[in-house]
């Protein structure tokens, strides 16, 4: 019978240095409840469509545009930071929204540009974008002042020219026009309030690309009634991270879900009527260490030396599977909702015929199941860290087994017999008499036939004839 099933979904997650777990599911049930979590499938997909190049997973660049807008809706608001602590707080009418649901373009395109990622190859030649889009690298000398390579917009230094101004009711949106490589994108925006002269910065980290083409990545909006005008001084697209294809490993973790950080995400139940509790899902980047105890050899950074690791050994080593997102096997167009998936086999005991392994991955109360980024490839040429550039969606299919059995009282179970949902929850304490102590011919025990009493009457239950005297 199907168990209460759910999928834990984390969207647009990545890793940070030292925090390489992208997602973890924790069994928060108490040990006596008997609730177990079974892991059935793990899917990792890139968070947005690729460009059309099929020759390389890091093929062609994408394209974005900066367009004037007159309205927006939805999105997640980002906070600004004052450059001068003596400045007033930026008006709440100035909004920087990531992934707004929609924007209304007002017919003015300020700029369009390619979004070639500025990643680096640890072991290879870096491309120019990576050199020039790295923070702090200055390239062009514009008016005696440096404009950094990662600037998309920089106020011109000619005194006779204006910066881009947003009056009340006006905004600027960054819109993805063509997909390139889905990845973590880092935007920095510097604005100035005309009336006060104070400047404020926004930093959008790991924003990624939208799910559909011609959708906004972010928008900056000066809401009507703000009473202020703002100037856009600098917009930067800073790139960092390295190009190695993201690799992940699955581990059983003993981390405490209350202290790992990250964001809590809700589960998606298969049956809305199901009751599924005591499950905590965290979206990274977080820190999830392998479960303590003798689970085999820790293989987090083992050099595989080109030898494939057998599935059984991986499980024994608490390293269930090492898998990577493979190159596209087919053309991905910019049609919405097309994604690549590298789905694991149902694990384990599957069509590979692993034989003795025929159980799902079971997560006991107090344990968790984590997807951790970074693993050395089989030839040992790539470092174990996952790239900061990687941005993925993770889905984990699970079920929760809830015990329905009613166990007898320990008084009704023979002494020395352990039983219960885990086989060690209860200890019977019923003691049966020895056969020698039970009257001969009396059957007792299991089914009333297990034992037969052997005690013959007379020995201590009556008087001998010699002792009975007729009066």
């Amino acid at each position: 019978m199907a168990q209460s099933s759910f999928t834990a979904i984390a969207e647009r997650v990545d890793v940070d240095p030292g925090r390489d777990c992208v997602m973890a599911v924790f069994n928060d049930a108490v040990s006596t409840s008997g609730k177990l979590l079974g892991i059935k499938a793990v899917r990792i997909v890139y968070s947005s469509p690729f460009g059309d190049d099929v020759s390389s997973i890091y093929g062609l660049q994408g394209k974005f545009s900066l367009d004037r807008i007159s309205a927006y809706s939805g999105g997640t608001e980002a906070s600004s930071v004052k450059q001068d602590t003596g400045a007033g707080t930026l008006s709440s009418s100035i909004k920087l929204m990531t992934f707004p649901t929609s924007v209304t373009e007002s017919g003015g395109r300020i700029r369009a540009a390619g979004d070639a990622p500025a990643g680096m190859l640890i072991t290879g030649t870096v491309n120019f974008q990576s050199m020039l889009r790295a923070p702090g690298i200055c390239d062009a000398n514009e008016g005696g002042r440096c404009i950094e390579g990662h600037n998309i917009i920089h106020k011109m230094w000619d005194s006779d020219t204006e910066p881009i101004m947003l009056h009340e009711g006006e905004g600027l949106a960054c819109i993805q026009r063509v997909f390139g490589v889905p990845r973590a994108m880092h935007w920095n925006i510097l604005i100035r309030v005309v009336s006060t002269g104070y400047t404020y910065r926004y930093a959008i980290e790991d924003s990624g690309t939208p799910y559909t083409v011609d959708s906004p990545i972010w928008c900056l909006f000066n809401t009507s009634g703000s009473g202020i005008n703002i100037e856009i001084y600098v917009i930067s697209l800073v790139g960092f991270g390295e190009y190695n294809l993201p690799r992940f490993r699955m581990i059983r973790t003993g981390a405490d879900p209350d202290t790992v950080g990250g964001e809590t995400v809700s589960i998606v139940k298969r049956d809305t009527a199901a009751t599924i509790g005591d499950v905590i899902v965290k979206k990274g980047p977080i820190v999830a260490y392998p479960l303590a105890g003798n689970h085999g050899v820790t293989m987090n950074y083992l050099d595989y030396q080109g030898t494939p690791i057998l599935a059984m050994i991986q499980q024994k080593a608490d390293l269930f599977r090492n898998f990577m997102i493979v190159s596209p096997q087919y053309t991905v167009t910019t049609t919405p909702s097309l994604r690549l998936e590298n789905e694991t086999e149902r694990w384990p005991g599957d069509r590979r015929g692993a034989g003795a392994i025929d159980d799902d991955i079971i997560i006991n109360p107090g344990e968790g199941f984590a997807i951790v980024g970074g693993i050395q490839n089989q030839s040992g040429t790539y470092p174990p860290e996952a790239s900061e550039m990687c941005l993925v969606n993770v889905e984990i299919d699970c079920y929760q087994s809830t015990p329905s059995a009613v166990y007898p009282s320990e008084d009704d179970v023979r002494n020395g017999v352990d039983y219960g949902p885990t086989g060690a929850d209860y200890d019977g304490d019923l003691i049966l008499p020895a056969e020698a102590d039970v009257k001969d011919g009396v059957f007792y025990g299991a089914d009333g036939t297990e034992y037969e009493g052997e005690y013959a009457g007379g020995g201590g239950s009556g008087m001998s004839k010699g002792r009975v005297v007729n009066q």
Partner: protein, 169 residues
Amino acid sequence: MAATWVAQQSVAFAATKSMLGLLNGGSNILRCYRYCIFNTHTTAVTAALTTMQVRRLTALSSGTSVTPVAHDTSSSALSSVTCVHGGTATGSDIFRRFMWLCEEATATGVTQANWEVLIPVGIVFFPTGGDSNLEPIVCRNTYGTDIYHPGASTVTTQEFEITFTNAAS
């Protein structure tokens, strides 16, 4: 500060083509501060290395209209300004010649095409250099300017920009 505008358009390369042009037909003065080309081509092509020019024009007509965008929407509308791509242009002076690569940019390449993605590299002509002693390209009545492709490349579509100010004097 003078009212500042940007003419921006994606334009396909073709032989001997005025990629983006501006002509002043009124009494105001247009001053051009930036000429830009950004490589946003996203599909594979057979590369072509070609030459480009920034020119003064004495005539500009036909072509496809481009609507300049104001940096400040409260600026007065442009009057008698022709802005087109692929127009019929009459060039007079050449301010700059340079080479440009018509090729898609890849994420890991090290060719010039990848350089051309970057904004600072795409500022192909910066007349003043930020020096107040230098003038921008000044377009008075009947004069204009364009980014011109005298070469033969027919591959890639890239972004063209001319940023200019509009003032009465």
